[in-house]
Symmetry: C2
Subunit: 345 residues, 2 copies
Amino acid sequence: MNLRELAQNLGLSQTTVSRALNGYPEVNEATRARVVQAAEQHNYRPNTRAKGLATGRAMAIGHVIPMSKQHEMVNPVFGDFIAGAGETYSRNGYDMVLSLVEDGQEEKTYRDLRGKGAVDGLIVHGPKSDDPRIAMLDDLGVPFVVHGRASAVTLPYAWLDVNNRNAFQRATDFLLDLGHRRIALMNGLEELDFASRRRAGYHDALQARGVPLRPEFMHSEEMTERYGYDTARLLLARDDAPTAFLVSSMITVIGVRRAIEERGLKMGRDVSVITHDDELSYFKNGQDAPIFTATCSSVREAGRQAAQILLERIAHPHLPPPNRLLEAQLVVGGSTGPAPISAKD
Amino acid sequence: MNLRELAQNLGLSQTTVSRALNGYPEVNEATRARVVQAAEQHNYRPNTRAKGLATGRAMAIGHVIPMSKQHEMVNPVFGDFIAGAGETYSRNGYDMVLSLVEDGQEEKTYRDLRGKGAVDGLIVHGPKSDDPRIAMLDDLGVPFVVHGRASAVTLPYAWLDVNNRNAFQRATDFLLDLGHRRIALMNGLEELDFASRRRAGYHDALQARGVPLRPEFMHSEEMTERYGYDTARLLLARDDAPTAFLVSSMITVIGVRRAIEERGLKMGRDVSVITHDDELSYFKNGQDAPIFTATCSSVREAGRQAAQILLERIAHPHLPPPNRLLEAQLVVGGSTGPAPISAKD
DNA sequence: AATCATTTCCAAAGCGCTTTGGGTGGCGGT
DNA sequence: ACCGCCACCCAAAGCGCTTTGGAAATGATT
């Protein structure tokens, strides 16, 4: 069923039917009701492609998900981010088109998506500190919002980020307050901006207390369970093993816990652990009594808000690009405690 | 840059340019080369919507991801499934459009997607045993492939599934062979077809050996970490605690392990555990020495193949709908061992 | 009763592409 | 010199919608 047929059925012109359905004022309310009812009854849906052609808008948003070539891994936070964004889109009649692309090939995909006219706007995932995509998209003139930031990029652009630096600074401070001095950082890949900001927070906190940075305690890899296990195991085998771990992901921390327990140690007593918690739906950290002390920030909520910002940006492209910095909460759980006496200094 | 402008630039007609770019034979190879080069140079991409309107094909596949209302949870396997499917799509010039929808509302979304002409085909996720979507899509006449099966649906339809029943039967047999008799099943939601098939496999194995089914050992919930922990904890506190657990997901099994270790027991010695492993990218079960004994089947590969089947189905809608049953491998890891003597019988 | 503003509707153009149904020019054959 | 046949190219229609620029009908005003 298309517009023409529907109009014929009703004995009206396409114009009138179109206007009736799109809420234009120049059509009699009685006629509109009749049209709406007929449309309902015939299960009529305007053809997106035709509508898009006519209006010049695709009513779709593009997400380009980077996929690590190395581990063929797609970051699990995307699922929840997209779930959040999807809520916003569907409330506003937008579709979401997804491309999974190998790390570093993203530019071409953005270009294609825009060039084909398949999307009205884009979300940029996983920005690097000096991410070339931002200048490119700015240049292309396509509305976009970055999930995260690119510290080295100076031109203004729309972003939404968690205050990662502050979160990790506070977490480190918290551990220092508990008497820990040998604190291992198990970060994500530090070419990614969020990870380098977390490291900066960790640095700041240690330096503010005059605790020397120890490269052998600072790790940076893709956030798999395996990475957590392997690295923590090696670190715990040292004579001067860390008494605390600051971990970048709920996935990795699972591996860290495994290494701790394998060694017969007890988390929260022998070794303290803080993790960042994106509040993934299947990994709830226990509402009542969290297992892990964590810096918490809902990535789903981030998705919702980023999508919202993008839609506003599409509606008002002339406004200056908005930024939103979400603060993570430091929630105390059972995985932290005072540093063991023997280890103090 | 659109076709008309490009054609004008070249001093050719739109027809010729279009044909040159789409590989039709009736254009001089020299001309074609000239056209292709100009297109490249001007960064020309045909407008999807216009092309779609003209050809009647959307060059896009729809994925409707169900999202549990209860836990606001999106199953983590979707990430990897979609990564696999995405590979196939992009190799074939298809886009992927994603909708996240609350459980049970999926029908409307499929209808919309198809009605709007936004997609050429659909993948059905998370089928229930008597899933109404299959009849509906069949009725709509839209090509689709089900990831999984719907046991109660009799009409032929295209599906790709893992042999869940066989996998869990073999896993249960394996535990029985090791002397276990009190084997707990921690299944996913059994309204989902794959879960009910797994239960059937478990049943079959127990009954074949004359081991009575014990309802208190059979659980069915959404596969969160928390579910694994809570349930295993309760079970382990019993006088007649299970000596083995058969778990439906890598996420849930993390919780099971937590409960086991919290109780001071050792996995693989005091308690045996087998899990199903979808080979999620960030949860590799250790290639060399798997932590968990597991029924393994790559959900990413399933995505690749399901997408392939769908594309073939779109190309040849008249062929009978193909089915593909993947066998899971039972890979032995460190989480299983003989039943403790005290517990035998 | 004539005029004018409103309301309600319509015909047709146009969005950017594909595709149908020719046209034109050069060539070999006679 | 003529015919017919390719090889190569083009004009125009059409995909399903929105939107412009009226037209017809209605009601209010003088």
